[in-house]
């Protein structure tokens, strides 16, 4: 029986890349090669219509996907209206609309 000291041990938020599965990311990069060019500027998030009304954040989704943190990502991706404004403003010319669509597809096949 564990002793109750009146507090619990906080779980670490460190991501151990040795234990991550990057296969889904590699699949996406094969279908949308421009995705590799992202410099995390956040212009996509700033211009996003969905972001105006929800907590949808493309930049965050990108960082979660590239670090293989797939939990709850499918539900987040459903918030995207696929309007494509992010693709228009991206300074690196990344095809973000197809990237989001393919993320959905890859995650549903997981």
């Amino acid at each position: 029986m564990a002793v109750n000291f009146g507090y619990s041990i906080s779980t670490t938020r460190v991501i151990n890349f040795d234990n991550c599965d990057f296969n889904l990311l590699h699949q996406l990069e094969e279908i949308v090669p421009s995705y590799k060019r992202c410099l995390n500027c956040g212009a996509c998030t700033a211009t996003c219509s969905a972001q105006q009304f929800t907590k949808f954040n493309i930049r965050k989704i990108k960082s979660l996907f590239t670090s293989a943190q797939y939990d709850k990502l499918a539900k987040e991706l459903d918030k995207c209206m696929l309007c494509g404004k992010c693709t228009l403003v991206c300074p690196r010319g990344i095809n973000l609309r197809p990237a989001i669509m393919n993320m959905r597809k890859i995650l549903s096949n997981k």
Binding site: A2, V3, Y7, S8, I9, S10, T12
Partner: protein, 351 residues
């Protein structure tokens, strides 16, 4: 050949005539350490070290928890320096790493802001009628042990060698943040390559483990620990270190900071009781020693006089590995000669 950058970062450490200032928490948690240091200085190294009876806190814990304002800390520090002046010493040696950080910080502020120094003189004069001068040499006791590590080695009865395998004992060294991370040039080897504990371990026959989270905080962090609700965060930091060092199978942990020694020792007990997990193979935990305790042990001092029985993780396995003789029946004998009641055993952590 590997370049040893720390060789370039040495600091000036006075040879003799020290004014010793004790720590608030060490006397409670590791009461044998300071006594052992004074004994080592006087009996082994034959140095003059003054143990002032009118000393007091440096305000470190209150200062770093935003409870004590800077001016108050300066005035309190100034009073301690005035005690040193009155005793006729110029080399200040604070037992605690946080005190060392506080004193270094105050002296640096005064150096860059003379108006603040004058103000502190005025505050001290008004409060106590005393005058003060900052020390000529300000070092931590671990610096002194480091400086004289080879002289001490000649007097040592034991080495950091596993007598069953003949191999060097594997040690994790943990240098307190306030030793060199605030003012890197004040620490031997600066903050990137602190060599103060490595030098001792290697000189005395041990092997230092270089593990991924070696420079991570021990989890003390003052305000991060003071509230009970926050302690889960504090334990998580120590846990991260333990998980990182576990695969390297350390025989012991050596620290030069009261907070680090306390938390790395006591959180092992806490984690064991909360999650049924220890970070050694046998379930006893990894012993955590202060540098004075280690020096004393190797010099042949009685482990129970050094206060090893007051740690949460008991050190008998380590003593057996080194070959240090001890009497288990004397473990809980009090200062008055009476055998004290044996403390309750932890439920999971073996002792």
């Amino acid at each position: 050949m590997t370049k040893r950058y720390w060789n370039e970062y040495q600091k000036e450490i006075a040879d003799d005539h020290y004014f010793y200032e004790r720590s608030c928490i060490r006397q409670t948690f590791f009461p044998g350490s300071e006594t052992a240091f004074l004994k080592i200085m006087r009996d082994e190294l034959h140095k003059d070290i003054y143990d002032e009876e009118n000393q007091h806190t440096c305000t470190g814990i209150g200062y770093h928890s935003d409870i004590v304002p800077l001016e108050t800390t300066m005035t309190v520090v100034a009073r301690l320096f005035s005690l040193m002046n009155a005793a006729g010493y110029t080399n200040y040696v604070p037992s605690c790493v946080t005190s060392f950080g506080i004193f270094t910080e105050m002296v640096e502020i005064w150096k860059h802001n003379p108006a603040m120094l004058e103000k502190t003189r005025e505050y001290l004069r008004k409060a106590t009628g005393r005058e003060f001068e900052p020390p000529a040499n300000l070092v931590h006791p671990s610096d002194i042990i480091y400086k004289f590590r080879m002289e001490l080695k000649e007097k040592m009865k034991y080495q950091l060698v596993n007598r069953f395998t003949g191999k060097p004992l594997r040690a994790v060294e943990h240098v307190g943040c306030h030793y060199a991370k605030i003012f890197p040039e004040k620490g031997i080897g600066k903050s990137e390559f602190p060599h103060v504990l490595v030098g001792m371990i290697e000189a005395w026959g041990g092997e230092v483990i270089d593990y991924p989270e070696r420079r991570h905080c021990c989890g003390f962090g003052f305000r991060h620990y003071l509230l009970q609700e926050n302690r889960g965060y504090s334990v998580a930091n120590s846990k991260k270190k333990f998980e990182s060092m576990e695969p390297y199978e350390p025989d012991f942990i050596l620290t030069n900071c009261p907070g680090c020694a306390m938390f790395m020792d006591k959180w092992q007990y806490t984690i064991a009781e909360m999650e049924n997990k220890t970070y050694d193979k046998e379930g006893y935990g990894i012993p955590v020693l202060t540098y004075e305790e280690l020096t004393g042990l190797l010099l042949g001092y009685d482990p129970w006089k050094l206060g090893l029985q007051l740690h949460q993780v008991q050190s008998e396995n380590l003593l057996n590995k080194i070959g240090i003789k001890y009497n288990p029946d004397e473990k809980y004998r009090g200062a008055d000669g009476q055998i004290l009641p044996i403390p309750n055993r932890p439920k999971f952590l073996k002792q």
